[in-house]
Structures are given as structure tokens and as C-alpha cells.
């Protein structure tokens, strides 16, 4: 009897397994395989060893894209967590119109990155946006040209990204704060601890898991950053905001260079594994240690 249930359960799971193996692992293996060929627009079976990888890492554009995604990733995740936490703490003070503010702060997250990107592009464009309006009011020397400035364009992306992502962190953090018992507040008040200190030393440590989850969600978005860049700067000026996902897409389609694109994708996957694997391992060890206790 037991055996039969197992069999039908296995049978029921078969489609899921098939999807997992064929769609995820199969296509991944296929991509990695292609990265060792000289494929251009269509897959070829002429193997060229690591030539595509050598080409990839001699490309200034690819190297710039790695650096950019690192800068963007750190500042975007960090900025969202910080701003999101501050917003949550502000809303947690039982202010009036709390739900209205909550909606306003979360609203950007409901928007597509393309919309966010376009809005910020227009606002930061020196001939159309904020700079032009302020100058027309009389402040002639006012400068706000992040989007077209080679050194600052990447920070313009961060600004737009944080504006969009902070709301998500706020909601998660706020939910965590509401879960904290009122007793703790009372106790802290009696001890005469200032409010900011309560948030930093008492609330924040308890929000650890919630913030880690929010950070993980944002970090996954960083790897596939593409739409906001295309909408806002299209990788420019020069290489200033080029990102790996865009590099791969450009080579996959516009430049008909399947080999180079799949090499880039493989490097990206390796990068993700390198970051995620130690994290997973630590989690695993952590839960094991807990189990032993």
C-alpha cells in the first residue's frame, strides 16, 4: 500500500521534475556548451575552447559592466535597507494618516522599472528636467546632470533604484516592528532609554531575519538589472552604466554573437553561485547546530 502511494506521488511530481531538469538545468547546460563554440547568430558545433572567455575578459565593456553592477548592487541594496528601515521606524511612531503614507511609499514598487527609469531620466536630463526648471526660475548656475555625466550616471541609477525599492523594505520592516511585544517598549521607557537607541539596539537586532529576506530579494534583482538601465541611460555615457545583463542581451541579439553572450551568462551564473554557495552553507551549518542543541 505504502509503495503505491509513493509511486503515484512520484508520478504526479514527474512534470515538475521534467520542467526542472529540461528547462532549468538543460538550458543552462546548453548555454554553457555554446559558450565554448564560435556560434554567431545560430548555434554552431565548432569548439574553440576558452577563446570566448578570453575575448570576454579583454573587453573593456564587460569589465566596466562588472564594476558597475558591483557599485550599483552595494549602494542599491544598502540604500534600500537603510531608507526602508528609517521609513518604517517613522511610520511605527503611530503617526496620523499612516496607511496613506504607507501606500505612497510602497507605490513606486508597484511600477515597472521601465517607467521608473523614464521618469528619472526626464527629471535628471539637464535640458528637460529639474536643472532646466530651476534655471528658468532664475538660478542660472544650478547643475543637476547626473544622467549625462560619465562619473555620476551610475549613482543616478542607484537613486532611481532606491526610490523604487525602499518601499518594499519599509513594508517588511514595519510588519516586523509590529510583531515586537509592547512589553519591551514599556521596559525600555522605564529605563529611560532614548527612542533612537531603542530602535538601533533593541528593534534592529530583532528585525534581522526580516531585513535579510528583504536584502536577498533586492540582491536577486541586482543580478538581472537590465530594464532600468535601458530606460534610463542605455548603458551610457560611454560604458558608465553598462551592466552584465545588458552586455549579454546586446551580444545575444543586436550583435549576433551567441558564443560571447553565453560566455558572459556563464560567468554571471558562476558569480551568483560563488556568492550564494557560502551563504547556503552557513545556513545549513546554522540549522544543523540548532538541531544538535
Amino acid at each position: 500500500m505504502k509503495r503505491k502511494t509513493n509511486l503515484s506521488a512520484t508520478f504526479a511530481l514527474l512534470p515538475t521534475w521534467l520542467v526542472a531538469v529540461v528547462v532549468f538545468i538543460g538550458t543552462m547546460a546548453w548555454s554553457i556548451n555554446l559558450s565554448f563554440t564560435n556560434s554567431t547568430i545560430f548555434p554552431s558545433s565548432t569548439y574553440v575552447g576558452f577563446a570566448q572567455y578570453a575575448k570576454l575578459f579583454s573587453s573593456a565593456k564587460w569589465l566596466a559592466s562588472l564594476q558597475n553592477v558591483l557599485i550599483f548592487g552595494v549602494l542599491y541594496v544598502g540604500g534600500c535597507l537603510l531608507l526602508g528601515f528609517l521609513l518604517a521606524a517613522a511610520l511605527d511612531r503611530k503617526i496620523r494618516f499612516e496607511s496613506a503614507f504607507r501606500t505612497i511609499f510602497l507605490y513606486p514598487y508597484a511600477m515597472s522599472f521601465v517607467v521608473t527609469g523614464l521618469i528619472w531620466q526626464w527629471m535628471l536630463n539637464p535640458t528637460l528636467g529639474i536643472q532646466a526648471s530651476v534655471r528658468s526660475l532664475g538660478w542660472e548656475s544650478f547643475v543637476l546632470d547626473w544622467v549625462v555625466n560619465r562619473d555620476l550616471a551610475i549613482y543616478a541609477l542607484v537613486l532611481a533604484g532606491v526610490w523604487q525599492g525602499a518601499g518594499l523594505v519599509m513594508v517588511i520592516a514595519l510588519a516586523g516592528m509590529r510583531g515586537i511585544e509592547a512589553e519591551q517598549w514599556k521596559a525600555a521607557r522605564i529605563d529611560g532609554i532614548p527612542v533612537w537607541r531603542i530602535y538601533v539596539s533593541i528593534i534592529l537586532p530583532q528585525l534581522g531575519p526580516a531585513l535579510a529576506a528583504a536584502g536577498m530579494l533586492l540582491a536577486m534583482g541586482v543580478i538581472k538589472t537590465y530594464d532600468i538601465v535601458v530606460a534610463m541611460t542605455n548603458g551610457g555615457p560611454g560604458n558608465a552604466t553598462e551592466v552584465p545583463a545588458k552586455f549579454i542581451m546586446d551580444n545575444l541579439f543586436g550583435r549576433q554573437n551567441l558564443g560571447l553572450a553565453t560566455a558572459g551568462a556563464t560567468v554571471l551564473v558562476l558569480g551568483v553561485i560563488m556568492i550564494v554557495a557560502p551563504f547556503r552553507y552557513a545556513m545549513h551549518m546554522h540549522s544543523k547546530a540548532r538541531g544538535a542543541r
Binding site: 554567431t40 573593456a60 531620466q121 535640458t127 528637460l128 546632470d145 560611454g238 546586446d250 550583435r255 549576433q256
Partner: protein, 410 residues
């Protein structure tokens, strides 16, 4: 299991019914193009109107930006669901598709229409692969143009078209002094590469240009020419405005139409925008070939006809090829698009002052092909990267940059 089988058979029968139902319909073509700006849309509409007049059904799948359209097209080809027709440039860009057997030949239409007698040989060669004609040319574009706003020139006190680069830069200084944006710059890589090419042609001449791009020649003379070109580009960088980065070409043209800017380097499709805005060539705006240039860079557009496995679509493709090559359509299309008709036997009297100049250069053979015709897409991408990086770096180390230029052919 039996039920499943029945369902399956019913499905097959239903699908069969659908295809027969479709077969009785008119020849339908799905057109995937990137022609979406005002002038471009008006031009493709000429073809659409004539196609529908001859009994065809037109389904529009336009996507703005030819890179985006290319990506969508490639995706659909790989997925086995190509559109009936795709707009694209002639030459190497289509070669891979043809050699993989993904496109339909329209050789019988070409033979029946005697295309060999009415098309310039250079264009005929670039739409044929292994002796078979695959593409139908819609028109040719000159890409060595400097457009200028007559109003802006009058404001700055420039009386004559500058003939040399020295005079040109003197003119830009006057525009700047008059408080105008001297150069309406479109800061996208493909636009910048086109400016690089037109300046390069003015520095190395027709033979020198072909030597560099076709023979990949790296002699002293070629390197010198590239260095001089880069020096001119560096100088031009001082005459653009803050909003240039990432600007669309038609937005740059709008700056000329409103007389906010003086000149724009662009292909002659920019005329389409002037026309839509009700501006007239020679009266409201002027056009000149880049200073010191002995000829012009050209590119020609065409339609590709992917194999769809549908006999009706094949018929529609042939009808479309006939429509595009119709002499009246060729002229009307070129007037709207700002191009030069691909057919050489059409009535040229209707063309505007700028197109007349272009026709002259073309019939004199003073033309060189655009990079998209003679380079692979990978090399075109590398050229875009090179020019974009040099332009934005603000460096004037032309010797080092010239080294990088010749690396794009590797």
C-alpha cells in the same frame, strides 16, 4: 486514454479547418519594421496603401528602434514563428539567415520585373546571394549629410555653406556666440559611428575608405586618416549641449526645426522629419555633404522574406516585392522617407534639392557603403563601442585610439 485520443483528433481536425479557412482569405503579410518616427511611418504607409489596393491584408508589427526590432525578429525566427516580412539593411546583415536557408528567394519576381536592368549593379549584388535575389530594396540613403537650420545660420550671421573644416568650425563658433546650440548631437552609439564614418571619408577619400573597411588596410596613410578623423571628433565635442547623451536622432532634428540648434550630422532620413513638420529643403533648412568629403556614405534598406511554411504568406511576399519595386511607389516612398529611389529609371524631377544632390553623387559612383553593409554585426558592434568610448572619454590621444580602431577587425 481513448478520450485523450479523441480530443487530440478533434484538435487536429479543428486546426485543419482553421488553416483551410485562412487559405480562402486574402494574401496576408505581417510586417516587422522599426519605422515608427513620423517620416518613416508615412513612408511605409505608401507601401501599405498600394499593397492593400492590390488585394493584400497588412498586419503591422512595428517596434521602435532597429536593435529592438532585430532582437524580436531573431527571437521569432529561432522560435519558428517568423513574420512574413522584415525591414533591414542590404548586404552582410542578412547573409547568415540566407545561408541557413531561412529566407525565401524572390528570384522569379526579380526576373519577371527585370530588376537587373533597373537597379544599380552595386545594390543588385548586395540583395543577391549565390546568384539568387532574396531582398527587395526600398530605397537608398545618403549618410554624409550635414543639415542646418537656415534661421539659425541667419541669426549667427553665416552667409555661405562652409566648404572646409576650418570654415565649418568658424561657423560653429558664430553659432555658439549667438547663444544657440552649435551641433544638435544624437548621443547614441550608432549615430556617433555614422558621424565617425562621414568624417573619415572626408579625410581619406573614397579609395582610402574602401581600403580601411573592405581590405582592413592598416598602412601609414590609413592610420593617419583615422587619427585626423578622431581629432575632428574631439573638436566637435566642444560644440554640443548637455542633453546630448542618449538623445534620439529625431529629437536632435527637432532642435533644428525649432531653430534652437545650428547643424546636425545625419543620414537623409532626417528630411522626413522636416517634411512632417512642414519645412522645405533649400528654404527652411539646408543640406550639405560633410566639408571636404569627395562623396557620401550610403546605406540601402530592404525587406527580408522569411520562410513561414505557409503558401499564402509566400504569395503575399511576392505581391509585396512587386509593390515595393513599382516605380510610382519607389518615388512616393522616397519623398516621404527622405531617401533616394533604388530604381534608377524613375522620375527624379519630384525629388527635393537634397535628394537631387544625392542622386548626382550616386550616379557618379562617388559612394562608399555603410559599415553595416561591409562588416559583420559583431564588428559593427565593436565599432560602436570604439567610437562611443572615444567620444565620451574626452581624450585627445588620437594615436592610442587609432590603435584601438584597427582592433575592431580582429
Amino acid at each position: 486514454m481513448k478520450n485523450m485520443m479523441k480530443l487530440f483528433l478533434a484538435g487536429v481536425a479543428f486546426a485543419g479547418f482553421l488553416t483551410t479557412a485562412q487559405a480562402e482569405d486574402k494574401p496576408t503579410i505581417e510586417m516587422l519594421s522599426s519605422w515608427t518616427s513620423g517620416g518613416e511611418a508615412a513612408a511605409i504607409n505608401v507601401i501599405k496603401t498600394e499593397f492593400e489596393k492590390r488585394g493584400g491584408v497588412w498586419k503591422d508589427s512595428s517596434i521602435a528602434g532597429f536593435g529592438a526590432a532585430d532582437a524580436a525578429f531573431q527571437n521569432r525566427v529561432v522560435a519558428g514563428d517568423p513574420p512574413g516580412a522584415k525591414q533591414g539593411v542590404i548586404g552582410l546583415a542578412a547573409a547568415d539567415f540566407v545561408s541557413q536557408g531561412l529566407f525565401n528567394s524572390i528570384d522569379d519576381v526579380a526576373k519577371a520585373g527585370k530588376w537587373a536592368d533597373v537597379l544599380p549593379k552595386s545594390i543588385l549584388d548586395l540583395i543577391s546571394y549565390d546568384g539568387q535575389t532574396y531582398l527587395v530594396p526600398t530605397g537608398a540613403h545618403g549618410e554624409s549629410w550635414v543639415f542646418y537650420s537656415k534661421e539659425a545660420f541667419a541669426k549667427a550671421g553665416i552667409a555661405e555653406e562652409p566648404k572646409t573644416w576650418d570654415e565649418f568650425f568658424a561657423g560653429l563658433d558664430k553659432l555658439k556666440a549667438a547663444g544657440l546650440v552649435p551641433v544638435a548631437w544624437g548621443g547614441q552609439p550608432w549615430q556617433q559611428s555614422k558621424v565617425f564614418n562621414m568624417v573619415l571619408l572626408s579625410q581619406v577619400g573614397i579609395d582610402g575608405f574602401l581600403k580601411i573597411y573592405v581590405d582592413k588596410d592598416k598602412s601609414e596613410a590609413s592610420v593617419e586618416g583615422v587619427k585626423k578623423t578622431l581629432a575632428i571628433l574631439h573638436k566637435l565635442h566642444g560644440y554640443i549641449d548637455d542633453g546630448a547623451a542618449g538623445r534620439n536622432w529625431n529629437d536632435a532634428t527637432a532642435m533644428l526645426i525649432t531653430a534652437k540648434a545650428g547643424v546636425q550630422f545625419m543620414g537623409d532620413w532626417a528630411k522626413g522629419e522636416f517634411t512632417v513638420a512642414g519645412k522645405e529643403a533649400g528654404k527652411d533648412y539646408g543640406c550639405m555633404i560633410v566639408p571636404e568629403s569627395p562623396g557620401m556614405v550610403y546605406i540601402a534598406d530592404s525587406f527580408y522574406f522569411p520562410k513561414t511554411g505557409n503558401a499564402e504568406t509566400d504569395k503575399a511576399q511576392k505581391l509585396l516585392a512587386e509593390v515595393v519595386m513599382d516605380p510610382a511607389v519607389q518615388v512616393e516612398f522616397s519623398l516621404k522617407k527622405g531617401s533616394v529611389p533604388a530604381r534608377s529609371d524613375v522620375d527624379k524631377s519630384k525629388l527635393d534639392a537634397c535628394a537631387q544632390k544625392g542622386v548626382e553623387l550616386m550616379s557618379a559612383g562617388a559612394i562608399v557603403p555603410d559599415q553595416a553593409i561591409v562588416l559583420t554585426p559583431q564588428q559593427v558592434g565593436a565599432l560602436d563601442d570604439f567610437v562611443d568610448e572615444y567620444w565620451n572619454s574626452g581624450s585627445d590621444d588620437t594615436a592610442a585610439a587609432a590603435e584601438n580602431f584597427f582592433a575592431i577587425f580582429e
